[in-house]
């Protein structure tokens, strides 16, 4: 992994974000929503509408409006929300922070469950443990997240009263409360991911266990535990890195449902609210921030790949 490779990847992220910015801006322009009407309401007078159009620069050529928007966005200024009148940038970044917290926690919980489960299934191939893992995996992928979420909330929040059903508490203010509030959404998100990651780990481990170097490791007298943990695990985990990076994308998008159910003001939920309210600056900011996060996550996955497998060299 060379510096020039990292620089090129960085340039690629910027390029991706640029393309997305053009798309996002173009699409919001094409929407039938008139910013001035949205701001002032249906009953505004023509003079008032013209005045606000003048103030917002809506009469300027499209490309000039785009450049102005991108120029401000580059400094973190995405404009004011049409709904609340607050700056959009800080609001969206805070929301992204909450979503990332949820996503990272979900991925960690998922890995802790899925990796041992997948390896167990591979080692016990064709036996009861393997069958059970397969069944759990199928159930996990078969249930849509709102079903899983509702079932978990009914069980853990309603019947057992162990966890709060909805809401969000910042871990900086009340760590215990944050954990309790995040538990249900994290569990829901991770259960869905466990299903396919466990299957992936299983098939990769099976492949690795049939490789020559595992046979060699066994035949040079290494105990089975060492063979599995030191020799098989690392190689079996390589493809999982890619899957996890894709899952970050899924979590940022698909998490909307989970955030909605558990009333977490994450970026997905903010984006939903923005779309409903035709809050153009918020939509633009949200879409751009999400795509940038996705691009960064994929680059990080490539870096992790090179760290884990020394044969992969980016230059």
């Amino acid at each position: 992994m060379s510096v020039s490779w990292l620089l090129r990847r960085l340039a690629l992220i910027l390029y991706t974000v640029f393309i997305v910015s053009v798309l996002v801006f173009g699409i919001t322009q094409a929407l039938p929503a008139d910013a001035a009407v949205t701001l002032l309401g249906e009953n505004a007078t023509a003079e008032a509408l013209n005045a606000i159009r003048e103030r917002l620069g809506l009469g300027d050529p499209i490309w000039w409006q785009y450049l102005r928007w991108v120029g401000h966005a580059a400094t973190g200024d995405f404009g004011l929300s049409m709904r609340t009148g607050q700056p959009v940038g800080p609001e969206m970044l805070t929301a992204l922070g909450r979503s990332l917290l949820l996503a990272v926690a979900a991925i960690l919980v998922m890995l802790v469950i899925a990796v041992p489960l997948g390896m167990l299934a591979a080692v016990r191939q064709g036996k009861a443990a393997d069958m059970a893992t397969g069944l759990i995996s199928y159930l996990g992928v078969s249930f849509p997240e709102f079903v899983t979420a509702t079932l978990l909330a009914m069980l853990l929040a309603d019947s057992l009263q162990w966890l709060p059903a909805t809401g969000y508490v910042s871990p900086l203010e009340d760590f215990g409360g944050a954990v309790r509030h995040l538990a249900l959404p994290v569990l829901t998100a991770s259960l869905i991911l466990v299903a396919h990651v466990a299957r992936m780990v299983r098939s990769e481990t099976l492949d690795v266990l049939h490789s020559d170097y595992i046979r060699a490791a066994r035949l040079k007298g290494l105990p089975e535990r060492t063979v599995l943990v030191r020799h098989a695990l690392r190689n079996a985990l390589l493809p999982v890195v890619t899957i996890v990076a894709l899952d970050v994308g899924y979590l940022l998008g698909g998490i909307i449902v989970i955030e909605e159910i558990f009333a977490i003001p994450g970026i997905g939920r903010q984006l939903m609210v923005a779309v409903t309210a035709r809050d153009l600056p918020s939509i633009q900011a949200g879409a751009l921030i999400m795509s940038a996060t996705y691009a960064v996550a994929n680059t990080l996955a490539d870096v992790a790949y090179a760290v884990l497998d020394k044969r992969i060299r980016y230059d």
Partner: protein, 533 residues
């Protein structure tokens, strides 16, 4: 004195589908302390299964019917898995065929050597590391300290095999099983590994089971040779006499299949017409980059010519650029320099028109990779027939089936094979299909890129016989790339010797032993194991 390893009446089946398949039948053999027993046989004769049985690493569908396997006074068959772990590595070591797949790609070499020593010799990590350095130095590896910190992909195949051998010997076992340890290496590297084996064996006095399909090689390293056929031991004899007086028919077949340079198979002389001339052909692989020196070329300004009907051998160790020449001549790799074909200049792959591509055909090393597994043999052969329209004139147009049948018979396969899939064929049969595909185009030059390397010695002999008779029928010239010196000395008119991308010698066959040859050519000729006796 008691034997180190002793098998008595050992019989083993594989359960395949409906009925069991007998793989080993009543095997009895002994290896005395310090003795090397060579085990030879074609693929499928059961010699590898015997190694797995000794290592107690049999597939799940194996069923041991009778017999005993004893290591000293330990009955290996009766041991539970936990006890076996303590036998493997410590009392029986193993060296594998392909060193590049026997090492874990994600761990450093040092880590893999030391973990074995820690586990099998009960050393601390630090002591194991020091011992590993000593062992690696002892097998003539330069700069062991740096080597230990590298990953397997960063070192050569020969170095990897040395490391694996050093580790196996370093655990001080009573017996080491060698499973074709030089097959995946080129001639010179393989010869040096054999020298190393002889030296370590003399120093340590360890007993060994040495498995190979190459009788010539085994007769040089072993004290006694056992010959296997279809799961049975058919002959056991001292290595010194097995070549001179093979008793069993199978042994005689193996002896006859060993290529001997003095036994020329080609007696004619090629014509004078130059078919193809390569002028200063250089092949470069990596992309050019700004601010970065270009990578060294895979071949550098190689020039030679091939006359009509000639067999030109290209030899050299792996990485010497042999295959890059084949890729350049077939337009698979970009090259600089020029090619003249039948007097026509060809400056780049773009100049290779239909006529050139029809006339110059290639057969690859691995038929598994070059035959599409989703096409039947008939479909595979119909492609060049349709593409080049080379069906013979006396057949009605469109009569593909008859033409495919004729091609198959030409390579001595039944015409009914047209409906078979590649996976239903043996390695030798697959290579025959690949040859038939090349000849479907009615070529005037066929490039054979290590086509016999994955095959047994006896199958190799029959493929060579086929190639020679096809040449007699069609007058095609061959560019025969190989690292089997003895084989190429039997058939080539001239030999081109390559080293590090450069052509160091281009010699008529009767001049390869002359005094004026390049020192590297002399090394290469000396490194080829010729049969004992």
């Amino acid at each position: 004195m008691t034997a180190v390893l002793s098998l008595r009446d050992y019989t083993l089946d594989y359960l395949t589908g409906s009925r069991p398949l007998r793989v080993l039948q009543d095997i009895s053999l002994d290896i005395a302390p310090g003795e090397v027993l060579g085990l030879v046989g074609e693929s499928g004769s059961g010699k590898s299964t015997l190694a797995w049985a000794i290592m107690r690493h049999l597939p799940k569908n194996a069923r041991e019917l009778s017999g005993s396997i004893r290591l000293g006074d330990t009955d290996l068959r009766g041991l539970p898995p936990r006890a076996l772990t303590r036998i493997r590595g410590r009392r029986i070591g193993m060296v594998f065929q392909d060193p590049s797949t026997a090492l874990n790609p994600t761990l450093t070499v040092g880590r893999q050597v030391t973990e074995t020593l820690v586990n099998n010799r009960g050393l601390t990590r630090r002591a194991a590391w020091d011992l590993a350095l000593e062992l690696l130095g002892h097998v003539e590896l330069r700069d062991p300290d740096a080597l230990m910190r590298r990953y397997p992909h960063e070192i050569s195949g020969g170095e990897k095999q040395r490391i694996l051998i050093a580790t196996a010997f370093g655990c001080r076992p009573e017996l080491i099983v060698f499973d074709e340890p030089t097959t995946a290496l080129d001639v010179i590297t393989g010869a040096r590994i054999l020298d190393l084996f002889a030296r370590l064996r003399a120093e340590t006095g360890v007993a060994a089971l040495y498995i190979s399909h190459d009788l010539a090689l085994v007769s040089r390293v072993a004290d006694r040779v056992a010959v296997m056929k279809k799961g049975r031991l058919v002959e056991e004899a001292p290595a010194a006499s097995i070549f001179a007086r093979p008793a069993h028919e199978e042994t005689r077949k193996l002896v006859a299949a060993v290529p001997r340079p003095e036994n020329r198979l080609v007696h004619d002389r090629p014509g004078d017409r130059v078919l193809l001339a390569a002028e200063a052909v250089s092949v470069r692989y990596a992309r050019r980059r700004l601010f970065r020196p270009p990578p060294p070329p895979a071949t550098h300004a190689v020039g030679f010519d091939i006359r009509a009907g000639e067999i030109l051998g290209i030899v050299g160790e792996s990485g010497s650029g042999k295959s890059s020449i084949a890729r350049a001549l077939t337009g698979l790799a970009d090259f600089s320099g020029g090619i003249r074909f039948d007097g026509r200049p060809i400056g780049s792959a773009r100049d290779m028109d239909g006529a050139y591509r029809r006339a110059v055909q290639i057969v690859f090393q691995h038929p598994d990779g070059s035959l599409n597994p989703r096409q039947t043999v008939g479909e595979i052969l119909s492609r060049p027939l349709k593409l080049f329209g080379t069906g013979s004139a006396d057949l009605p147009a469109g009569n593909l089936a008859a033409e495919i049948g004729r091609l198959l018979e030409q390579v001595r396969l039944p015409a009914a094979y047209a409906t078979r899939w590649p996976h239903q064929l043996s390695g030798g049969e697959k290579q025959r299909v690949a040859i038939a595909r090349a000849f479907a185009a009615k070529p005037s030059l066929v490039i054979c890129d290590e086509i016999t390397a994955p095959l047994d010695v006896s199958v190799q002999a029959s493929i060579i016989e086929l190639l020679l008779s096809l040449r007699a029928e069609t007058g095609a010239a061959y560019l025969f790339i190989t690292h089997d010196i003895n084989l190429i000395r039997q058939i080539a008119h001239r030999i081109a010797v390559m080293r590090r991308g450069e052509l160091v010698d281009l010699l008529p066959i009767d001049a390869v032993d002359a005094d004026h040859v390049h020192p590297y050519t002399r090394d290469l000729m000396a490194a080829s194991p010729t049969p004992v006796g």
